[in-house]
Subunit: 339 residues, 2 copies
DNA sequence: TACGGCGGGTATATCGATATACTGCCGTAG
DNA sequence: CTACGGCAGTATATCGATATACCCGCCGTA
């Protein structure tokens, strides 16, 4: 391993000068020829600064942690990609902290916030934000949330979920559906609330009835969605919705499975639109109409903002610029004629 | 941030003693009461060693990099989970290096191997292994490959791909298929070769003809598989295979799409089995019969071995213990009666 | 009485980069 | 002839943990 000392020795300058040349310290005055010599030697020797050493001095490791509730959920892959991209631009690396459950265990705290190896936290896990904020208090670790916004945090990137929900309802209403159920998420997170509000507002804009039996708060898992779906579909025809809007991808899959079990056809008997898009949805049975949100953009903006935060610049609350889009596939059809 | 100095001061010992107590240095002789005092103070103050500082001295950062060809491929998610699990056991964190392409760009080299921030590399990307090995030569960075084995590398974890292929062929042959095509991977990687060999051997064990037109080398992408699938299905009925075995998940999806475009039904007109399983396959049209490989185990073993390698213990070539399993879904059916 | 050994620690260099204060020299102005 | 300012760098402390060499006092023994 070539160290700065080697570079300095070969270039015939002190390590201080070598460091200052390579870091382009504006307060250094040095002859152009010396400057070039140092650069050339560094190049020749293939010098790369040791980030661990520089991290010790500067308290910048060039690493950020991403905290996700469930990295197995394929809907996050775009986000991760966006984060990676932004991180790479700034020569950061990304580690993802898999929560494996509703909370982060102490071992994870330790590795991700207490040992000084992370420069900042990008948190996409609404339910642990407050706990996390408490942990990092006074520790000067910047934290930015994505996908949800909390008053206890200064920076966040969220998407226009309400419009996403609205798009789903508009689409279904346009197909003549009037009984549109919502397989929702938890009411205690702000994403959940925004998606819910979008649904409710759009329903009322279309003068559609909102039956409380049609709004089923779930927990974002396929399993729960399946159970809720069964309950919904077991309703007598007369009260049964003709369309369902699911709050996320696993919920859609759960509902799809429930419909299949109940012997109901999508979209023949019931239409389905889901929030969260993924290429795999082109291959499902049936291909699912979905709302595409700018997940990649959210990740990218979040990572960028977090890195700015690490550099001491203020973070703020922003909303992605790209609007949600409805990707029409084959899980939605005109409402059936019912009694 | 509490440092070791603080702990030492509060405990009334030197930093050397504090460090040695906390690290359980066996050569240290110290009274039990002092030992306890140091421990208690560390606990009270919430002391966590700064990993950046200790990393500088010990050249152990507690971080490993995973190099994947395409982290978007959902088939890897199990593997990543296994890696995470093993890493967590040893207090390591994991960063994933997304290659975004057929090779790693220089910026990536830098961040992942040249700056001293990684303790080791876990590589699941056969085509860049040699390049990587050359880069780390003499740098003392341990490298373990997973999913493929190379002579230039001392440690690897592979799976029994050949048996996986065999399972696929056995299943299809058992259903009466005789014309079984193979939508393969690249012939220049050892995984590709093993999967291929398994197919070929199983075919010959069943006395089935291997038509070279039925072995299509692809590149593991959905796009290519789709094109190859079209070509295969455009063959006249008489020469067209009645079953296809695809080498990985994206290939299966590509083939499925090709069949749909060609108006052929799976499994009515052609059966499909794919290597690589994922829960989502229960939701595809049709649900795909797949070979489940112990991807999680492979990741876990690989990470564990790599970490042992970091600790100076020798690495070796191992094969996962769990055998491949066929998950029967609905993309396979008895062979149609053909002329 | 001298000496060695051991219990119970301590002092310090080190990892590699960086930040800050400082120095030597030269030319020029007063 | 001296003072001063600027140019071109240098010396060194520091980040926090760790590894190694060392030290001091006391006890037992020859």
């Amino acid at each position: 391993m070539t160290t700065l000392k080697d570079v300095a020795a070969h270039a015939g300058v002190s390590v201080a000068t070598a460091a200052r040349v390579l870091n382009e310290d504006p307060t250094l005055s040095v002859r152009p020829v010396t400057r070039e010599r140092v650069r050339a030697v560094a190049q020749d020797l293939g010098y790369r600064p040791n980030r661990v050493a520089s991290g010790l001095r500067t308290r910048r490791t060039g690493t950020i942690a991403v905290v996700l509730p469930d990295p197995q959920n394929i809907a996050w892959s775009d986000t991760l990609r966006g984060i990676e991209r932004a991180a790479a631009e700034h020569e950061y690396v990304v580690v993802v902290a898999d929560a494996h459950g509703p909370t982060l265990d102490p071992q994870q705290w330790s590795r991700f916030v207490l040992e000084g190896r992370m420069d900042g936290l990008l948190v996409a896990f609404a339910t642990v934000v407050d706990e996390l904020v408490a942990q990092i208090a006074g520790r000067g670790l910047p934290l930015v949330t994505i996908n949800s916004r909390s008053d206890n945090v200064d920076g966040s990137v969220t998407m226009d979920d309400a419009t996403g929900s609205r798009l789903a309802v508009d689409h279904l209403a346009g197909l003549g559906h009037r009984r549109i159920a919502f397989l929702a998420g938890r009411g205690d997170t702000d994403v959940g609330r925004r998606r819910h509000a979008g649904y409710r507002d759009a329903m009322s804009d279309h003068d559609l009835p909102v039956d409380s039996a049609w709004i089923l708060p779930g927990d974002y898992t396929e399993r729960t969605a399946r159970a809720l779906g069964r309950a919904l579909l077991d309703m007598p025809d007369i009260g049964r919705p003709t369309a369902v809007y699911t709050v996320n991808l696993p919920s859609a899959l759960g509902f799809r499975a429930a419909a299949a079990e109940a012997g109901l056809r999508i979209p023949g008997d019931v239409s389905l639109v889901t929030m969260d898009d993924h290429p795999i949805l082109a291959h499902t049975d049936p291909p699912l109409t979905a709302i595409q949100l700018p997940m990649g953009e959210m990740g990218e903006l979040g990572a960028r903002m977090l890195i700015e935060g690490v550099d001491g610049r203020p973070v703020r609350h922003v909303v992605t610029a790209t609007p949600p889009r409805l990707i029409e596939r084959r899980s939605t059809a005109p409402a059936p004629m019912l009694a």
